[in-house]
Every structure is written in C-alpha cells, then in structure tokens.
Amino acid sequence: MKRILFYILLILIWEGIYKLGVDILRIWRPYILPSPFDVFGTLAVLIKDNTIGIAIIASLKRIIVGYFISVVIGVALGLTIAKFKYLEENLGPLILGLQTLPSICWLPFAILWFGLSEASIIFVIAIGSTFAVAMSVKYAIKNVNPLYIRAARTMGAKGSKIYTHVILPAALPDIVSGLKQGWSFAWRALMAGEMLSATKGLGQVLMVGRDLADISQVVAVMIVIIVLGLLVDKLVFERLEKNMRHKWGLDRA
C-alpha cells in the first residue's frame, strides 16, 4: 500500500515536471518528454491492438532459446574451467574479459555469420550471457566449503562421486545466483539486438516509436521491459535463490 502511494507520488511529480516544462515555461517540445497520461494512453492502445502481446511473445521466444543455449554452454564451460587448473589460470582471465565486453559488440559478427535473421539475435543473446554464467559456475565450484569434501572423503567417496554427490549440490545456490545474473545479461542483449535488427519484438516496437518521434510509445515499451524483467527476476530467480539459500543454511551469517 505504501509502495503504491509512492509510485502515485512519483507519477504526479513526473506530470508536474511535464506541465512546468512543456505547458507553462514552454522550454520543451512535447516530444522531448511525454506526459505520464500520454504514456499510459499509448500503452493501452498498444495492448488493445495486440502490438505489445505479439512483441512480448516474439521477444520471449528469442530470449528463451538464447538463454537456454547460454546456460548449457556456460555451465559446461564453467565446470571445465573449475576442473582443470591450467584452463583456470589461462582461459579464466580471457573469459572474464569477454564477460565485460557488451554483447552488442558481437552484432557485426552475428550479421556476417547469420545474416539479418532470428539466429543472429539469438547468437547475441547467447554470447551475452554465456560468459557470465561460466564465470559464476566456476566461482560457485571454487567456493564449496572444503569441509564437505573432507567429510565425504572420510566416508569413502572418491573421484567423480565427490563431484556429483558433494561439490555440485553444495555449489547449487551460487550457481543459481549466476544463472540469475546471466538472465539479466541476456535480457539486455535481447533489447540491443532487437533494436538494431529485428522485424518484431519489444525492442523493435520501441524503435518504431523513435522513428515516428512518438516518445510516449518509447516510454511505454520501456515500462513493459522493466515490468517483464522484474517479474522474471522476482518470481523465478529470487524465489528459487531464497529457498535454496535458506535450506543450505547460507542466509544466516
């Protein structure tokens, strides 16, 4: 309730600034800053004519495929690096570097390899989150309490059994945190990719707004993107992470 009031207040401030700048002082044109009521009006239209619905489905399809690919490759890569010291020392810094490279930098490659197609956007998404996932899986494995491993060894666990029965489950909460981070990387990559080379999707609808100088459409799509991102974060990852950390006894210092 308090939070709803806060947001109503925020919207009122926004409207106040709009009124002051556009209507009273006339220092801004209406296309510089939209009024919140225009934004919600546009949003309602976009929802009514199903533009947003189609865009959301197209975007979600892409991100699910791209993210799935990045999780598979990222987890495999992370586990391999954690396993071999040589790879960790030499490949590790390179992957850390690649993780800091914004995924949109891969777009030229993507277009050369896959053309202006669905596949190139998926490629950008996948490569945008793969390295983040790989790094956190590696850290998760390295972070496992050595006492668990010692205890398992004294109970006769050896080699790969220690890996599957102790190290992996012990690292799971940290791995989930990594997957969450990977998701936010993927989400950014998706938007960047769609804005540059898509025929449908949220990013494309946003760009249409820009092309038509319809700033309220741009803001409307931004709000949809924020809400979707928050929903997935809160409903899927945060819940999973919280339950797990509680059960693993990690939330009490």
């Binding site: 205890a151 398992a152 060894r153 004294t154 109970m155 006769g156 029965h165 102790v166 012990a170 799971l172």
Partner: protein, 279 residues
C-alpha cells in the same frame, strides 16, 4: 592388532621458517580402546588426527592399521569434525546413509541401518528434516549417527563438542560414553578440555607443543558409567591439569608479553579491601 603410529613427524615449510608440528610421535592403540589426546592449541593434535584419517600425509613415519599402512582416507576410519559437516541438501536420513551409499549398499539395508543409528542418538523422529531445522547439538548427533553407520573400526573425533553449549555438551558426552560401551569401537578423541578427557577416556595423552610430541600419558582406571560430578574425575582432572598447565603456559608465554604468568595473582587482592589490617 590395532593402530600403530610410528615415528610420525609433520613439518610445514613456509618461506621464512620451518615449523615442525609433530616430531617423532609414537603411540599404539589397542582395538576397542578410548584414547583422548589433550593439548594446548597449536600442539599438532588436529594434525595428528588428520594424518590418522588420511586427509594429510606425514612428512616422516607411518601409520599402520591392522598390519596395513594408511595411505589415504577410507571408511574404516570415520571422522567427526568440530562442525557437523552435514550436507544441507540432504534430509537427515540421507545424510546418515551417505557413506553407505558411496559403498554401494542396497537401499533397504541402508535405510534400516541408518534408522538403527538415528534411534541410538534419539533422533529417529527427525529423519525427514533438513539440516537447517536442527540445533547445533542435534547436528552433532546426526554426524555421530553418520559416523557410526559405516561400521568403521575406528572413530576419529576432532573436538566434536567444543562448539556446543555446556548442557548440550554434557548430554552428548554421556551418550558417547554409552555408545562406546555398546559398540566397543576404537575411539580417538581430540580435546583441549581435561575434564572431558578424564570423563570419556581409558587413556589420556597430554601433548606438548613446539614441536608437537607426547608429554605424559595417564591411564584412567575408573569404572563405567562414570559420573561427571564424581570426586575421582576431579582427582584425575587435577593431576592432568598440572601437566597440561605447564604446556599451556609455555605456549602462552611465547605468544604474550614476557611478564605474563599463570600464578601471578592466584588470589584477587587489593589493598583497599584488606578489612582494616593496617589500622
């Protein structure tokens, strides 16, 4: 038969100096014996236990169990650590079954045995709980059941009750005594608490530090079940404390300022409160 520790030394070499944590450690432990290793911090008692467990390698010397040299960890020597080291992703019962599962024992046998030992530590009601739902004392009980479930000949215990509050500790000590009488396992128990050592053990080995070695050994010839409050326990504890105190003092003197002394002020006295003796 039994466990023979022969001339075991352990050195840690760092850039600046060489520390010998253990030097020519020798002990023979008969099957079914209960031995407490007592010593000040830093005397190498935990290192010794790790070597017996096979988690660390001795720099010199061998450990022989029933004629075979120990080369690595194995289910014939289970370990209980100061922290329970239970796996939080498993239920209590699955934690107890873990070692048996590694050994490839069938599910029915595993379950039956795990329940048997959970009953022994009075936690069968909690078999489907997760670790985060247990208190510290309950965790150590589960860890004890898990260690017992492997039917190992030797149980190695590294200050398992040190982190518990004193009531819980007392209960677990009592229970360990009972379980030892029932199962006749060889138990090697590391502690820095002299009273605990006297209460539990047949033999108390007091260690000296720098380098870690045996200082003195005491045979505790008291009938069981023993009572913590009995004067016999206090008698032995006082005797052992004397030997231990010298070692603790030595270690403390090396760490603190030179003027530190155990016996400096045995009676708290202040000239303000001398009941008028100077009138």
């Amino acid at each position: 038969m039994g466990l023979v520790v022969k001339d075991v030394s352990k050195e840690f070499v760092s850039k600046h100096k060489k520390t010998s944590t253990l030097e020519n450690f020798n002990i023979e432990i008969k099957r079914g014996d209960f031995v407490c290793i007592l010593g000040p911090s830093g005397c190498g008692k935990s290192t010794l236990l790790n070597i017996l467990a096979g988690l660390e390698k001795a720099t010199k010397g061998v450990v022989i169990l029933n004629g075979n040299e120990i080369t690595g960890p194995g289910p014939d020597r289970t370990v209980m650590f100061q922290e329970a080291a239970l796996f939080p992703w498993l239920k209590v019962i699955d934690n107890v079954e873990f070692g048996m599962k590694m050994a490839g024992i069938s599910k029915e046998v595993r379950y039956e045995k795990a329940m048997h030992y959970l009953k022994m530590v009075h936690l069968s009601k909690f078999k489907d709980s997760y670790v985060f739902e247990l208190s510290g004392g309950m965790k150590q009980r589960v860890a004890l059941a898990r260690a017992l479930s492997l039917d190992s000949e030797i149980l190695l215990m590294d200050e398992p009750f040190a982190a518990l509050d004193s009531q819980t500790k007392m209960m677990l000590q009592q229970e360990l005594q009972r379980i030892w009488v029932d199962t006749k396992k060889t138990i090697i128990f590391i502690t820095h608490n002299a009273e605990e050592a006297v209460y539990l053990a047949n033999r108390v080995v007091v260690m000296a530090a720098n380098p870690g070695r045996i200082k003195q050994e005491f045979a505790i010839e008291l009938s069981r079940p023993r009572q913590m409050e009995s004067s016999d326990i206090s008698y032995y504890t006082a005797k052992i404390m004397k030997a231990l105190k010298e070692e603790v003092e030595k270690v403390a003197k090396a760490e603190y300022d030179g003027d530190w002394n155990f016996e400096e002020n045995p009676v708290l006295y202040s000239s303000d409160t001398d009941m008028g003796g100077d009138l």
